[in-house]
Point group: D2
Amino acid sequence: MPPAPAVPRYAYLGPEGTFAEQALRQATAGGDTAALVPMASVDAALEAVRSGDVDAAMVPIENSVEGGVSATLGALAQGEPLLVVGEQVVPVTFDFVVRPGLSREDVVRIASHPHGLAQCRVWLHREFPKATLVPALSTAGAAEALLDPATPWDAALCAPIAARRFGLAPMLTDVGDNPAAVTRFVLVSRPGPLPAPTGADKTTLAAYLGPDDHPGQLLELLEQFAVRGVNLSRLESRPTGEGMGRYYMSIDAEGHVAEARVAEALKGLHRVCPKVIFLGSYPRAGGDSAPVRAETSDAAFAEADTWLRAIRNPITPPTSP
Amino acid sequence: MPPAPAVPRYAYLGPEGTFAEQALRQATAGGDTAALVPMASVDAALEAVRSGDVDAAMVPIENSVEGGVSATLGALAQGEPLLVVGEQVVPVTFDFVVRPGLSREDVVRIASHPHGLAQCRVWLHREFPKATLVPALSTAGAAEALLDPATPWDAALCAPIAARRFGLAPMLTDVGDNPAAVTRFVLVSRPGPLPAPTGADKTTLAAYLGPDDHPGQLLELLEQFAVRGVNLSRLESRPTGEGMGRYYMSIDAEGHVAEARVAEALKGLHRVCPKVIFLGSYPRAGGDSAPVRAETSDAAFAEADTWLRAIRNPITPPTSP
Amino acid sequence: MPPAPAVPRYAYLGPEGTFAEQALRQATAGGDTAALVPMASVDAALEAVRSGDVDAAMVPIENSVEGGVSATLGALAQGEPLLVVGEQVVPVTFDFVVRPGLSREDVVRIASHPHGLAQCRVWLHREFPKATLVPALSTAGAAEALLDPATPWDAALCAPIAARRFGLAPMLTDVGDNPAAVTRFVLVSRPGPLPAPTGADKTTLAAYLGPDDHPGQLLELLEQFAVRGVNLSRLESRPTGEGMGRYYMSIDAEGHVAEARVAEALKGLHRVCPKVIFLGSYPRAGGDSAPVRAETSDAAFAEADTWLRAIRNPITPPTSP
Amino acid sequence: MPPAPAVPRYAYLGPEGTFAEQALRQATAGGDTAALVPMASVDAALEAVRSGDVDAAMVPIENSVEGGVSATLGALAQGEPLLVVGEQVVPVTFDFVVRPGLSREDVVRIASHPHGLAQCRVWLHREFPKATLVPALSTAGAAEALLDPATPWDAALCAPIAARRFGLAPMLTDVGDNPAAVTRFVLVSRPGPLPAPTGADKTTLAAYLGPDDHPGQLLELLEQFAVRGVNLSRLESRPTGEGMGRYYMSIDAEGHVAEARVAEALKGLHRVCPKVIFLGSYPRAGGDSAPVRAETSDAAFAEADTWLRAIRNPITPPTSP
C-alpha cells in the first residue's frame, strides 16, 4: 500500500461502467478524491475489504424485481465479519448502445448480463423480435466489447454510466420492462465504529434458526421485534447451503442498534437463536424517519430502567428519631 | 412506641385465634419473641404498617376455594406503597366447638364468619340439617363468644388455634367441605430492601390497562412475560372501582426481580401499561424451584449484554504501520 | 307444577327486598305477571332452575368494587349445565333505615350484609364513628328485622326496594363509599335456545387450563380470541377448588356465538383446552355495540369460506373438443 | 392438437439435457409414454401450460444454495392461475465434458450457465485457475455446442443427462463446490382437482401484505398458521415489482388444504391479507410425514365443530306434560 496519500480506496462489482460504479459515485459525490477499484465478483470485492486491500466495497444486495442478491447475502453471512455502513438505491434502466456505425436495422445479436436481458425481456421481444440474445458476464462488458471489431454481437443493454465511459452514444435510453425497477447497493467495510444514528436508520442481521424448526420458532424470532415495537422492512429466508429446507433469516429492521428498542430486540434474538450476525446500523436511503411509538422510545426505555433500578435498590425511608 | 426493646411488632387480621394468626406464628416460628397485634380488618392491619405502628402485617390474599381476597388485593394496589416480603399457605379446616356443657343434640344455632359457613355448607347440611346458621364478624369471635352465657348461639366453626386459645375442646376437627382448601397469606411491610433471591421466588404486581381496552391489549401485556420466558402463577382481573368493566390485572410471576428475565419483563410492562405497581419479590411457599430455560437464564441475558456492548462499541483493529 | 296458568316463575337471591329482586324487576319490567321466588342462596336459586322448579334465576355475578361473585361463578362452572340468557346492571347505593320512632342520635348498632358494611365502611366511620356494626345474612333481612322489637340493632343499610317493601322511610338515601358502584346480575335458565344476536352481545365461558401450566398456555388461550379479533370484556382466573394454584379462566367475550368469529374462537378453545363450558350468549346490558373490524365480520368469514370451498373443489374448465 | 393419442405433454425448462428434464423424467418414471417439450424459459413453459399447449410443466422453484428462483416464483404469483401438483428434488452436481478429442491440458475456455459457473467457482479456481469462463444460456446448451467445431469454448459443466444425451463422455463427474446442493422443481398444471392428501403434503401460497406494513402485520400473518398448529417449511419475502420495499410472502406450509387446520389457516389469511394466491397442495418430496399435534388433527376440528353445533342448536329438553 502506498505510504503517503491516504486516498480512500473503494472496490465495486465491476467492470468499469456497472450500476455498482454508479452507486459508488452516488455515495462518494463523484468519487474524485477516492480510488475506485472494479472487482470481478461480489466475493472478490468483499475479499478485498477483508484483506485490507480496500477500505470498503459497494455491492448489490437487493433488486426490486428479482429480490435479494444471493452472492452478497451469502458472502456477508459467512467468513470474516463485515459491516454495512451505508446504502444507495439506483434506478435500473438501461441504455441501448450499438456498435459505432450501425443503424437499428443492422442489429442482429444483442448482449447483456442475463439479469439485464431478463429485465428487458418484454421490450426486446417487442422491439427486436428476431434478435439473438447473447449472455455476457456483465452489462458493462457487453457494451465495451462493441468497440472491438471481433465481438460477435451488435448491440448491448448497459448502465448509463457505461455508455458515457466508453463513448457509446445510446441509441435509446430508459429501456426496461419495469420503469420503477431499482437496485439497492450496500457499502461494506471492515468492523469498526458504527455510523452515528440519524433517526432514519436501518439495521441488517442474519439470524439462524435451530435445527429443529418446530412450529412457532420463526414466530418466536419475530416476537422479539414485535414486543419492542421494532418494524422489519425486509425478511427473507435464505438457504444456509447445508441442504434443502435449512434456512437463516436475512433481516432489515428499522432503527439503529444505538436505540434501546433495537438493542433489546437484538439481545432477545441472541438469546433465542443459535447464531445471530450483526451486519450494521446505517442511514436509510431515502432518509424518511418512521415515527416511533411513545412506549418504545429511548425515553420510555430510560424511564423504565430508572423505575426498575429504584425497585431493586429501594431507599429505605429514614426512621424517625 | 417503647424506646428500648426493638421487639418486632406484627399485625394480623384478628381477632386472636384466626387463621391469620396461625399463618403469622407459622412464619415467625411461634412468634414468641415478637409482639403479635390483632387488627379488626385488613385495611386496619395494612394502615398500621403504613403508619409505622407495626413492622409488618399478615393478611390473607387468596383462598383456594373462593379466589383472591378483595380487601387485601385492593388495599395493596392503592394508597401508600407496601411490599410483600413473604407468604404462608395455611390449610383451612375447621374445629367444631360447642358451648361447654352442651352435647351434640343440644346444638340449635351455629355461628361462624360467612366464609366459614360457606366452606362447611355441605357438612352443615348433612350433620345439622335443622340448625340455624348465624353470621359472625370472625371465626375466632364466634368461638370466643361461646364462653359468654348471653351469646345466642351454641356452637361455632373456627381455626384450630382459636379452640386452643379459648380453651374450647373441639367436638370435631378437620371439618370442611373441601379437605384440600388452603388460604395463602402474605407478610406485608413498608418499602425497603427486598428479600434475597432464593431460586424459588415469586413477584407480585398490579398492572393497569389503558382506558381503551382494544383487543390485544391484555395479550400485549402477557407477551411481555412470554417473550422473556416468565411464567405466571396467578392472573386475575380486578375491578379498579371506577365502574363496571374497568380492571387492573393482579399478577403473580415466577421469579425474582433481581433476575434479568423478570426485570426486563417488568420494564416492558412499565412501558406499555399506564401504571404498574411492584408489590414485592419473595420466596415462594413450598419453595420448589421451577427450571429456567437456558435462553432466559441470567447467564444468557449477561452474554447477550456483552455481545451487544461489543457491537455498539467495536474495537477497531489497529491498522498496520 | 300447576297445570293451568303458565305464569313464568323466577327465583332470585333473597330474601325479598334485595338488589337481586331489584335486578329481576328491572328485567321483567316490574314482574307483575311473573312469580318471583326469593331463595336463601345463589346455590339454592340455581338448584331451583336445574330442578325445573323455576324457569330462571337472577343472581349476582360481578361487583364493580369487589369483583367476581365466587358463589355464582363457581355454581355456573360446576354441576348440571346452565345458560345465562340476560344480564342486568344495578347501581349499588343504600338506603339507611332506622327502627320506626328512633332518631339519628339513638342509633347505636347498625346491621347489614358484610358486603354492604364493607361498601359503606368510610361513610359509617365518618357518620357513626361509635356505632357497633352487626353482620346480617342479607341487607334485606337486616332491614326487615327492624320491625321486630326483639331485634338487637337500631338501623340497617339496605337496597331501596327493601325500604319500600317493608314500609321503612329511609333516613338517608344514596349511601355508599363509591357512588359509581354497581353489581351485575345474570338471568340463568336451563339449556335451551339462545337469545337471538342483537349486535351488542356477550358470551360467557369457563375455560380450564391443563394440569401443566407451562409458560404460554394462557397466552395460547388468549390467542384463540385475538387471532379472530374477539375482544374480552372480563378475564378472571378462578380457583378450581382442587388446590392452590389450580385455576380455570372465567371469560366474558364480546359477541354472540352465532357470529363466525366467536364461533371459531370457541372451537379453537375447545381444541386447546382440556375443558370449556359454554355459559351463554346474550344481549349486553347498556347495549352499545362495539365496532367489528372488517376482516373479522361474518361477511369476511363467509367470503373466506366460499373462497376455500372453491379451492378444495375446483371446477375443471371443460377441455376444448 | 392431435385428435387421437392423448399422450400427456409436459413442458420443461430446456433445452434438452437440463436438470429440469432430469426432474421431469424422475417424475414420470422415464417419461417414455409422454411427450416432453423443452422451452426456452420458465415463462414460456408456464405460458404453454396456461394456453393448454401442454398438460403441465416442470420448472425450478428453489435451489439449496441460491434460494428461491425468481422467474418461477414471480410467474406463479402473477397472471392466470396455475396449480402446483408435485415436486421433485434433484441433486445438482455437474459432469465436466470436453470437446471430443481434447485432453485436460487443452482446456482454455469453459462454458456453463452463470449459475453453473457460480456453483463450481471454487472447483474451477482450483482445477483450472487459468481458464476463461464463458456464460451460456443453459448448461445443456454449453455442452451441446461442444459438438460444433465453431464453438469458441473447449469444455462445459452440465447435468449428467446432457452428457448422455449428446454422447459426451464426461471427463469428470460429481463436480460442484457443495456436494449437498439440490434444486427443487415443481410440476405445474392448470387449475383442476387437487392431488389427494397423503399425510405428507405441502401447500404453497403467495400472500400479500397491505400497503401499510405496520409492525406486526407479518406477525399477524404468521399467527394465522401458528394458532392452528401449521408449520411453515419456507417463508420468503419476494418483491412485488412495484418498487423497493413492497413485498409479498411466498410460503410453503406443511399439510394439505383438505386438512382442517390448513383450511382454517388459509381462511384466516384470506381475511387479513389483501390478496392470497393458492398455488397447490401436493405430496412432499421425501414423503416423511411430520406428526400432527392432537389438538390440531382433523378429529379435533371435527369434534369442536360438533360441540359448537350443539351449542348453537341446543336440543330443548321436552317439557313435562
